[in-house]
Symmetry: C2
Subunit: 215 residues, 2 copies
DNA sequence: GAATTAATTGAACGTTCGTTTTATTATTGC
DNA sequence: GCAATAATAAAACGAACGTTCAATTAATTC
């Protein structure tokens, strides 16, 4: 046999991407074989090479598009406000929503970096650094404005991102907590962690509280 | 050739363990071949099977001993005090010190769980859960005593552990920050995150501050 | 110093891997 | 409906994989 009835390049490629994200997230990139992936799509292994020249090209494509999506999502969600607290809240909300919505892809992007060539690793890390820099800027602005109490901007940014991204490790949709509840709790924890004097969306308690949260 | 002069089973096994931790951390379990590991040790691949019956047995041994070490370290560091703040501080300090000291082993234990059989995965997760439960207990005690402000004990415990363990991703000994500095900063962030009314080791500011950090 | 045991080599086994090549069939454009 | 093109199957490639086995030599025991 050769071309099958109803076969369509676009649909096959989309099916390959989706199956690849799921399989790599579950088994790991090295452990997933091209034959396994092909079987999941309902196709022979050779057919995959019409869409991705090598296995690593497939991985890189998934990762690059994930990072592009993350940066784009933040570009849309980023508020016009100068207020650091609102910006931090928007960052947290966008980060959690995006990562919960794409748990598998996030897993792949975080866990399989070592399977990329040096050049491609650099490309992905560049995007990641750009995304993290956005958070550092917010933290620094907040610290300079006196609304955040931050010992070390870089370290705090890393701690926050690790904490937030960690959601995908234990969160399962439909279990005890809803996405909204999780987001609310993480927002509270974030605001306390950076020593914000008020919580986002709450009335300002007129000043006196600030010093109390200073370590 | 056969047995080499000066060969010693104990030394070889120790060398295999050390090389395996480093190689798996760098390349991943699936990507590391037994021949590669043997070469690193300076031995033929067949010699490895004198010490570990299969590749997965090797991985499991590394992980189990890592988790046992973590639980044991906490058993030693755990303070006799009932004071939740001191206990939390001890937990954070022990966690960070242990994980920075064994970055590679931690990497392996966190990233290669999916390469274990179901039965062995269960064993490792049981130990991990026991360790995490210690933190949840501290947080609950603190919340009940009114010295911590915690929305959700389980969620907060996960967030804290993700945050702290994340240190191994970016921390490199000898760079900008010392272990002591990192620990101090993480301790501050932790105490703020849980809404502790005072910081560990600082004089108590006589009460009035507590409400200020409530979200 | 002979017998036993410990430690390792070297070669081989069957399997699976990513990938390439060639042939074949479905779809599309004229 | 015929030519061109798109999408796949089927088979094969050499390389690498985890693992086993028999042979061999070093160290230990008596």
């Amino acid at each position: 046999m050769a071309r099958t009835t109803g076969s369509d390049g676009e649909k096959t490629e989309a099916a390959v991407r989706e199956a690849a994200v799921n399989l790599i997230a579950r088994l790991g990139y090295e452990a997933m074989s091209m034959r396994q992936l092909a079987a999941e799509v309902g196709v022979q292994a050779a057919a995959l090479y019409r869409y991705f020249p090598t296995k690593q090209d497939l991985l890189f494509t998934l990762m690059r598009e994930h990072m592009e999506g993350l940066l784009q999502a933040w570009g849309v969600a980023r508020p016009a406000t100068a207020d650091p607290e609102s910006r931090l809240a928007a960052y947290v909300e966008n980060h959690i929503a995006f990562h919960i919505g794409r748990r598998h892809a996030t897993h792949v992007s975080n866990m399989e970096l070592r399977s990329l060539s040096h050049e491609r690793l650099t490309q992905i890390l560049k995007m990641r650094t750009a995304y993290e820099k956005e958070l550092r800027t917010i933290l620094r602005d907040g610290a300079e404005a006196g609304v955040f109490q931050v010992d070390d901007t870089g370290l705090t940014a890393m701690a926050l991102i690790q904490m937030m991204t960690g959601v995908i490790v234990w969160f399962r949709p439909g279990e005890r907590l809803s996405i909204a509840e999780v987001t609310t709790t993480y927002l509270s924890m974030t605001m306390r962690l950076v020593g914000a004097t008020i919580s986002h969306g709450t009335a300002r308690p007129s000043g006196r509280a600030r010093d109390a949260v200073v370590l």
